[in-house]
């Protein structure tokens, strides 16, 4: 493991926020941390960048000058222009002169904000603000890029553009970690980790996660819930049979990441209750 968390437990205000979390973050990869509100995603990321101390386990991170971090909040100065925001970030990371200008220009082109360089950060749309924040975190070509929910509350077009930026950073060799509440976004990464109540439910490469789903998954159309282990998915019901035997009338389907996440949660509940 190059960077990441190794069996980390974090306690915040007496409450355990994450427990025994291992999150490997490799260079030239995008790791997606998925979970609902309060699952511990932000705590994982904050522990990774050193914003919270860990109670147990160890953290591997590069020096501060090689980290790019965008918190879940804005991550930019609303009363500075786009140009000034990028310049601040670049200067903070030790860039100056022609190098600063060159990098800032390239980043603004990359995030598609070249045409609004004189606009105040606060006057940008939500999607543009997030793109600017990601651009600011990328301006110094960090080794580790940590993004806390960059796509939450962002329109679909901007979300696609953000993911294009994130994938590009990964492809250029950066170790990227992205937290998100959207399960379908896990498929965009090279590795995913699903968190619930501070614990890791499942982790690994997306295809590996899907391939290792226990039991059998089926699909059936109907009004009422067919079994206790079933959930709505569009017009259909998904039915999960932990033992592998699907009820009659249920068609077998291959699970995707969303199904895998629900099944992992159900399996975890079963393990707790048994």
């Amino acid at each position: 493991m190059r960077w990441g968390l190794d069996d980390v437990t974090v306690r915040l205000g007496g409450r355990v926020a994450i427990i025994g979390v291992t999150l490997p973050v490799e260079p030239a990869s995008v790791t997606v941390v998925v979970g609902g509100d309060g699952a511990g995603k932000s705590t994982c990321l904050r522990a990774l960048v050193g914003l919270v101390g860990v109670e147990e386990g160890s953290v591997r991170r590069p020096s501060k000058s090689k980290i790019g971090y965008v918190p879940a909040t804005a991550g930019l100065y609303a009363d500075l222009t786009v140009d000034e925001n990028v310049a601040f970030s670049a200067t903070a990371y030790g860039l100056s002169g022609a190098e600063l200008k060159g990098r800032a220009g390239r980043i603004l082109g990359l995030v598609g904000l070249d045409g609004v360089r004189d606009r105040l950060g606060g006057q940008l749309s939500g999607g543009m603000q997030r793109k600017l924040a990601v651009g600011m975190a990328l301006v110094h070509s960090p080794e580790l890029l940590v993004l806390d929910e960059p796509t939450t509350g962002v329109d679909p077009v901007s979300r696609a553009e953000l993911w294009r930026l994130i994938s590009r950073a990964g492809a250029e060799g950066t170790a990227v970690v992205v937290a998100t509440t959207y399960v379908n976004e896990a498929a965009r990464g090279s590795a995913a980790m699903l968190l619930e109540e501070g614990r890791v439910l499942i982790s690994g490469a997306p295809e590996g996660i899907v391939g290792e789903v226990p039991g059998t998954l089926g699909r059936v159309r109907g009004v009422s819930q067919p079994t206790a282990m079933s959930w709505r998915r569009g017009a259909d019901w998904r039915v999960w049979a932990p033992t592998g035997d699907l009820p009659p009338g249920v068609t077998r389907v291959d699970p995707d990441l969303e199904d895998a996440a629900v099944i992992a949660a159900l399996a975890s509940e079963m393990a707790v209750s048994s």
């Binding site: 919270v52 386990g57 591997r60 918190p71 991550g75």
Partner: protein, 362 residues
């Protein structure tokens, strides 16, 4: 409607600061206006010098409070005592008559003293002097111009305003927008952030101070007879205290509303109890103690002393020393608290089993 009332009370109960302000503020105002807000001075520190000092001193009744009697003293002795602020009234007795020196920077004390002297003049003969033999001389501010004493004080008030309110708002804005968290991850040392955050406000406040003094001198003809360096030293120390309070407020405020509330609670007593408007000497003993912990009280002593009287630094060691202590204490505490926000991974990392492989570069 009842639902609204219940909701409002519940919210109010959670908002402890507003509740505190609603309760503390009326009490403070009551105390101040009931007890402290008085222009009539009850005690005026008086020094009596000259060959007949021992004869004259017992004849001085309230409001004169004789703090020293010096038979060998001369007019210059008395002036020196007034210059360093040891007394407001200097009575110089001579064989030929009495010279009463008054410290014109203490406008209300002087007005009270003048009317007391006028009363005394109606009962002449005491101590063998006729009223005609009593000569009164007001020093430093002969025409008792209010603006002369207000400008040095207002300079302090404006420094409090910028230092405390504007600084706290600036830091809280950073916290509220979440950028403070980002700064903590950037390759800044906590000192870089703290100093980088404070210096612009320090510079603006210094510029403001210069403007106030220059405008005061040009428009209101306020004199500046003392040493500029002494004044600057006092102003710098005072500014550090106010900036420290600003940062301190920001570390205990989650949003700008809370910061304004707290800054207001710190500003108000300084306006009312520092001697800016009401003389400290006229306050009741209990209230006077509050004024003694307010930094503006000491800055006003320095600024009025240096600007109007030319008080030397040797006579101002007490307010300068106290401001220095306050500066170190308040700014130190503020920086410690602010640092905790900027280097949170240093907090509580001593737990067993916690390992941090920062900067590992295999």
């Amino acid at each position: 409607m009842w639902a609204m009332v219940t909701k409002e009370f519940r919210q109010l109960r959670r908002d402890r600061r507003t509740l505190a302000m609603m309760i503390v503020l009326p009490v403070l105002l009551l105390v101040v206006f009931g007890d402290a807000a008085s222009f009539s001075v009850k005690e005026i520190p008086t020094i009596v010098v000259g060959p007949r000092a021992e004869l004259v001193a017992p004849l001085l009744h309230a409001p004169f409070q004789v703090v020293a009697v010096d038979v060998d003293g001369t007019e210059s002795t008395a002036k020196q005592r007034l210059l360093v602020g040891a007394a407001v009234v200097g009575v110089v007795t001579r064989d030929s008559g009495v010279l009463v020196l008054l410290d014109g920077t203490q406008v209300f004390s002087v007005q009270t003293a003048e009317s007391a002297l006028a009363r005394n003049a109606r009962t002449p003969g005491e101590a063998g002097f006729t009223a005609a033999a009593v000569r009164v001389q007001i020093l430093y501010n002969p025409s008792l111009t209010t603006s002369w004493v207000m400008v040095p004080g207002l300079a302090g008030l404006i420094l409090v305003f910028i230092g405390t309110l504007i600084t706290s708002l600036g830091v809280v804005r950073e916290r509220q927008s979440g950028t403070l968290e980002q700064l903590a991850v950037m390759p800044f040392r906590p000192w870089d952030v703290i100093i980088g955050k404070i210096v612009p406000y320090l510079m603006v406040a210094a510029l403001d101070l210069a403007v106030i003094i220059v405008v005061g001198m040009a428009v209101f003809h306020v004199p500046f007879v003392g040493n500029v360096a002494t004044f600057l030293l006092g102003a710098a120390l005072f500014l550090l205290v106010t900036l420290g309070m600003g940062v301190l407020i920001s570390t205990v405020s989650q949003n700008q509303g809370q910061a304004i509330q707290l800054a207001f609670m710190i500003l108000l007593p300084q306006v009312l109890l520092s001697g800016l408007i009401f003389p400290v000497a006229s306050m009741a003993a209990g209230v006077r103690w509050i004024s003694y912990v307010l930094p503006l009280t000491y800055f006003i002593r320095i600024s009025r002393g240096v600007m109007l009287k030319g008080t030397p630094i040797s006579a101002l060691w007490q307010p300068i020393g106290l401001l220095a202590v306050l500066a170190v204490g308040v700014l130190g505490l503020a920086i410690l608290r602010f640092r905790r926000d900027l280097a949170p991974n240093l907090r509580g990392t001593a737990e067993q089993g916690a390992g941090l492989l920062e900067g590992a570069n295999p």
